[in-house]
């Protein structure tokens, strides 16, 4: 009995100190100088530009990764081929590589001194220190989220429903839309949610390729850093509440999904 109470107490203190307190401080600091100062952080055109850019990047990266995640999961779960394990490892690569390195790779490829730098410059294509680079880096970093969520579920479900649909005369596309997709929709939504949270919050990789041009290539996390470095703490925390709220909403939706559709997510291993 005493051990249990002690353990629970330790866990609660730990959670408060390392998770709840920092989150609370974000909100406390943001509102320290009142609602007016809080709101004024969002009337800054640079802040608005950062929010727009973050939304744009997520709007491209998340659907991209949803489509390719489903495609990759389909390939891995429904077919047998040589090099399947290698492909699985490759999908996990962004998890194991430091985001800063991921960003650097793109600089080495598409930067002015990079492999394709001259060609890109000659054709007037800007990737590094511009929006395309930020999108690319975000896609790379968030690639595994959807695929990783669906693969175990698809593997557990097997292929017999698809085979049944095909023998009944359905086309491949009809089978995908009416059989495969409904079977994975909650896991897909779950993956998309996590992918989106990471896409909007990604700092390291984006920081390397963005070039920090205020009002142009600063995303929300980068903008927060800029504000903080300018000793503009209240504004930094005010903008940070956006990301913190996104995290909380994601967590809430995730819990609802897990609670309501536990069966449909059952085969998914939770990180």
């Amino acid at each position: 009995m005493r051990i249990r109470v002690t353990l629970i107490l330790v866990a609660v203190v730990f959670l408060c100190a390392f998770l709840f307190l920092p989150l609370a401080i974000v909100f406390i600091e943001a509102f320290r100088k009142g609602l007016f100062v809080f709101m004024s952080a969002f009337s800054d055109p640079d802040a608005l530009a950062a929010i727009r850019l973050t939304l744009l990047v997520a709007a491209i990266a998340v659907p991209f990764n949803a489509i390719f995640g489903v495609a990759a999961a389909w390939t891995i779960a429904k077919f047998n081929f040589r090099g399947k394990n290698f492909l699985l490892t490759l999908i996990d690569l962004p998890f194991s590589i430091s985001p800063v390195i991921s960003g650097l790779v793109y600089v080495l490829l598409f930067g002015a001194q990079g492999w394709f730098g001259h060609w890109l410059k000659a054709h007037n294509v800007e990737i590094i220190f511009a929006v395309p680079g930020i999108v690319l880096a975000t896609i790379f970093v968030t690639f595994p989220f959807v695929a990783r969520e669906i693969i175990p579920l698809m593997q557990a479900q097997g292929t017999s429903e698809e085979e049944a649909a095909l023998t009944l005369g359905a086309s491949g596309w009809h089978t995908f839309l009416h059989v495969t997709l409904p079977n994975i929709k909650w896991a897909l939504l779950y993956g998309v949610l996590l992918c989106n949270a990471r896409a909007m919050g990604e700092f390291g990789a984006v920081s390397v390729v963005s070039g920090h041009i205020r009002g142009k290539t600063d995303t929300v996390p980068l903008h927060i850093e800029v504000l903080y470095n300018d000793y503009n703490f209240t504004a930094a925390f005010a903008v940070a509440t956006l990301l913190a709220s996104l995290g909380l909403v994601t967590l809430l939706l995730k819990s609802i999904l897990e609670w309501k559709f536990a069966d449909n997510l059952a085969a998914t291993h939770h990180r």
């Binding site: 017999s160 429903e161 085979e163 049944a164 649909a165 095909l166 023998t167 009944l168 005369g169 359905a170 086309s171 009809h174 009416h178 059989v179 409904p182 079977n183």
Partner: protein
């Protein structure tokens, strides 16, 4: 509607393993044939090759005069019933049965009212009228199996292929379903092949039984032919109810051998 099925010298290898080693088989139109054999004998592989779910390495399959190799899986129009039913979990019974009709190309797709009529008809046939709005998870194993059968029948298949249709059911339900399937077959007359490892099932249901072992057909014949005249030692061992008696040759004279049973029967 139903056609004959001809299998010619079918061979199938998985990696190094020969699952089918030259199988030939004729199933007459409207006939009910059982593929019986121990696990790993190739019976399910044979069924899946006929359905088009696997591709053979050699040999061919004919539906009537049509070479099935020239038909895509869609065009084969096979009624395949899977061992674990493979019902669409997220669709109710009616939508499951209607799936094959709704999946047709628009040009040949029946109208929605015609589909509904056909579903009703099939629900009557499988004696599950009134359960059309249930989901597969709300049905018993026997009911699921019947829905799977109705779903396969909906597309008016050339041939009905059943993979261990009663394998996942308990003994009582198996017996009932067996009788029911026999009656259904008598009424609809589909050329039917079914896989089983249960010899009672095979002998009770089928017009003819093909016994497979090691990727080959050891014998094919009516139940009484097999029970009365088992062709090989394997069949005599595999099938219960066949007694092999060791015999001793006596009085070999003028090309006549007299055989006499020795004292201890075996097998």
């Amino acid at each position: 509607m139903s056609v004959s099925v001809t299998v010619r010298n079918l061979e199938k290898t998985f990696n190094q393993f020969s699952a089918l080693r030259g199988i030939s088989l004729e199933v007459n139109s409207g006939e009910l044939v059982a593929l019986l054999g121990p696990s790993g004998s190739g019976k399910t592989t044979l069924l899946r090759c006929i359905a088009g779910l696997e591709y053979q390495n050699n040999g061919s399959v004919f539906f009537g005069d049509i070479n099935a190799d020239q038909l895509s899986l869609r065009e084969r129009r096979i009624g395949f019933v899977f061992q674990q039913y493979a019902l669409f979990k997220h669709m109710n019974v009616a939508d499951n049965i209607a799936f094959g009709l709704r999946a047709k190309r628009r040009a040949i797709r029946p109208t929605e009212s015609a589909i509904r009529l056909r579903v009703e008809e099939l629900l009557n046939l499988i004696q599950l009228s009134g359960l059309e709005l249930r989901y597969p998870s709300q049905l018993s194993g026997g009911q699921r199996q019947r829905v799977a059968l109705a779903r396969a029948l909906a597309i008016e298949p050339r041939v009905l292929l059943l993979d261990e249709p009663f394998g996942a059911l308990d003994a009582k339900v198996r017996k009932d379903l067996r009788r029911w399937l026999r009656e259904l077959h008598a009424r609809t007359g589909h050329t039917t092949l079914f896989v089983t490892h249960d010899q009672d099932e095979a002998f009770e249901l089928a017009d003819r039984v093909a016994i497979l072992n090691n990727g080959l057909i050891e014998q094919i014949g009516t139940p009484s032919q097999i029970l009365g005249y088992p062709k090989t030692k394997f069949i005599a061992d595999f099938v219960d109810g066949i007694n092999l008696k060791p015999l001793k040759a006596e009085n070999i004279r003028n090309n006549v051998i007299e055989l006499r049973a020795t004292s201890s029967p075996q097998g």
